[in-house]
């Protein structure tokens, strides 16, 4: 795979939010995303998993410049978009879109379905007059909704149908890259599969590239080619999906994988679980060194002293953990 195929490259992305506390505005800084680097190739799906508060949503919103990055570089299709002003971003917005988690909050309740999905066409002057409606009808059909619903309001639909409307809105501008921000988390099991299949079909048909953000590990494995695991604002492991599931290296990834409840009573009875101690530390004051060390059963001195870097350990496998790296190098030299 040549370098030319890379659609999005993120290098050392940092996003801090300032929280003002108290009357005189003493500032506290939430380190939502800290030094995250990855790339996504054309037509590929990169999964981003992690628990709430790990910064995965912030990454998704920052790479399409809904949030201004604090530091780092975002390169989209060979062009550095990190410092672009909103006005300059406008034309690029046609190429990058986002699908949201909450099918209730992501649609404006006061607009009809037709208005919602033709809004992007109006904003970018892609269609007008009778053409506008024609386009909207086409989009509805594309996501598997009947065009008869065009004058209905969002609340008249079930959550799965609403998610389809959100997808139609994102597709209206014919984008290359879509950030899927937990698009299935709020849906029922039987409907989740419908939406995932729809996203996969659209990817095939339109050559879309996805950044698929979720906390559902079984679904992310199904849809993504490569998966990044985030913990407390850091990327801790990045690998091809089958590799990640068969050979998870980072202790956090292992705990995460073992925590998935399996719909199989016998297997569940036998399963050995890695149960993590305690809770997620606050991103306002993350632990020094490795951020996972407070909950890690293998933590040593070095983990609190220095921050582990992402190190390549396989063909497409990177991990950020002192212990794993030590063990791997030991094994390599003792052999």
């Amino acid at each position: 795979m040549g370098k030319d195929d890379i659609l999005l490259k993120v290098d050392g992305l940092v996003k801090h939010f300032e929280l003002s506390q108290g009357f005189w505005g003493r500032k506290a800084v939430v380190q939502a995303v800290d030094d995250v680097s990855f790339h996504i190739c054309q037509g590929e799906t990169l999964g981003l998993v992690g628990e709430s508060g790990c910064g995965k949503t912030t990454v998704g919103r920052t790479v399409i410049k809904l949030y201004e990055p604090t530091a780092g570089a975002i390169v989209f299709d060979g062009r550095d978009i990190t410092g672009l002003k909103e006005k300059e971003m406008r034309s690029l917005r046609k190429r990058m879109q986002i699908i949201f988690q909450d099918p209730y909050a992501s649609l404006n309740a006061r607009m009809t379905v037709g208005d919602i999905i033709s809004e992007p066409l109006i904003i970018h002057s892609l269609a007008r007059g009778p053409k506008l409606r024609e386009q909207a009808v086409k989009l509805l059909q594309k996501v598997g909704l009947s065009p008869n619903y065009i004058n209905r309001y969002p609340h008249e639909f079930s959550s799965g149908q609403r998610q389809r409307i959100g997808i139609a809105r994102a597709l209206a501008v014919n984008p290359d890259f879509i950030v899927c921000d937990e698009p299935i988390s709020a849906l029922d099991v039987s409907i989740q599969a419908q939406v995932v299949n729809l996203l996969e079909d659209l990817q095939q048909e339109m050559g879309l590239t996805y950044l698929f953000i979720t906390h559902d590990l079984s679904m992310v494995k199904h849809i993504s080619k490569r998966i990044g695991v985030m913990y407390l604002g850091k990327l801790v492991e990045l690998a091809e999906s089958s590799e990640l599931y068969q050979r998870p290296l980072h202790p956090y990834t292992r705990a995460l994988l073992s925590a998935i409840p399996v719909p199989d009573p016998d297997a569940a009875a036998q399963k050995q679980r890695v149960i993590l101690k305690g809770d997620l530390p606050s991103p306002i004051n993350p632990p020094a060194g490795c951020r996972f060390r407070t909950r890690c059963q293998f933590a040593r001195d070095i983990c609190s002293r220095s921050n582990p870097e992402m190190i390549q350990v396989g063909l497409k496998h990177m991990v950020a953990c002192h212990i794993v790296i030590n063990r791997l190098t030991d094994r390599f030299f003792n052999k």
Binding site: I98, Q101, R110, M111, P120, H124
Partner: protein
């Protein structure tokens, strides 16, 4: 077990696909609110009273053979009768027409207050909320400043500057009556603008104006309507109160406050002169308050399931 004919177990060929596709006949936000409002008897009573007052204020004086300034010198201080329903005042003017005329002024005051609310208040609050940060801070401190000065002071200031009359009352109301709305709208927008549908609009490259007018303000309509309906009676009452003190509308124009104030010296001889304008004031304000309460219950999202 009862017998079931074999052919019933043939595959279902003609599927009534509509059943899977049917979506709930939409109970819209407004439909739902209207349903709630209709169940609230007091609110409906208030609404009908307001409609009646508006109709009377518009058509009443035209239909009546008397005018608000016609003096019948032979009929001074009469009690209510078939000829003059509310009687006549000390100068022989028909009180019914004058009260209706007062309703025009009161409603005009209410209208001005609500227009200011809807334009200046909504816009100001909307812009402050959307801009956020330093701009928001500055704009809202200005609102605080306006708030800290009592209304009467504004009125007196206006009187001095442009003389007494309806104009100075409108000006004073103008300075004050959009403040609360600005606060309400700003607070709403601060929470709304973090919602995903606004994010989506930004991701589509929508301009700030589009986000404000197409997405944010339509979603604040509930609180906006409640605030307007609560502010109208307040404005009407303020006008009546100021006119009663002699700070408002001048004679021969007949605001309810003026009528009540005029009636005061002769209260022992002609109590009806005070009774009817006072009744009109209370009735209108009660009606607006009932309607406002009803609207609050009907539109408040916290009460919705």
């Amino acid at each position: 077990m009862y017998e079931i004919p074999k052919e019933k177990f043939n595959p279902l060929l003609e599927r009534n696909n509509d059943t899977a596709d049917i979506i709930r006949p939409g109970v819209t936000y407004w439909g739902d609110a209207w349903h709630r409002l209709r169940q609230n008897k007091m609110a409906m009573l208030g609404m009908y009273t307001i409609i009646l007052i508006i109709l009377l204020a518009i058509w009443g004086p035209i239909l009546s053979q008397h005018s608000y300034s016609d003096q019948y010198l032979d009929k001074q201080g009469l009690g209510p009768s078939n000829e003059h329903w509310f009687g006549t005042d000390g100068l022989g003017r028909d009180l019914f027409v004058r009260v209706l005329y007062g309703a025009r002024i009161s409603l005009a005051v209410g209208l001005v207050a609500s227009l200011l609310n809807l334009t200046v208040g909504v816009l100001y609050g909307g812009i402050a909320g959307l801009a956020g940060g330093r701009v928001d801070n500055l704009m809202m401190r200005m609102v605080d400043m306006f708030y800290s000065i009592p209304l009467v002071l504004y009125v007196i200031l206006m009187m001095v500057l442009i003389g007494p009359g309806l104009k100075s009352i409108f000006m004073a109301l103008g300075l004050v009556y959009w403040l609360e709305m600005a606060r309400v709208v700003r607070a709403q927008i601060l929470t709304l603008k973090e919602q995903e549908f606004v994010m989506a609009a930004r991701a589509l490259g929508a301009s700030q104006a589009r986000i404000l007018f197409r997405h944010l303000i339509p979603n604040c309509m509930g609180p906006i309507i409640i605030t307007v309906s609560m502010n109208i009676p307040l404005a009407i009452f303020t006008e009546a109160f100021l006119s009663f003190l002699g700070l408002g509308v001048a004679i021969p124009m007949a605001s309810w406050g003026v009528l009540a104030s005029d009636a005061l010296p002769a209260i022992r001889s002609y109590p009806h002169l005070l009774f009817f304008p006072a009744m009109a004031i209370s009735l209108t304000i009660l009606a607006f308050n009932f309607l406002g309460d009803g609207l609050r219950d009907a539109l408040d999202p916290r009460l919705r399931k």
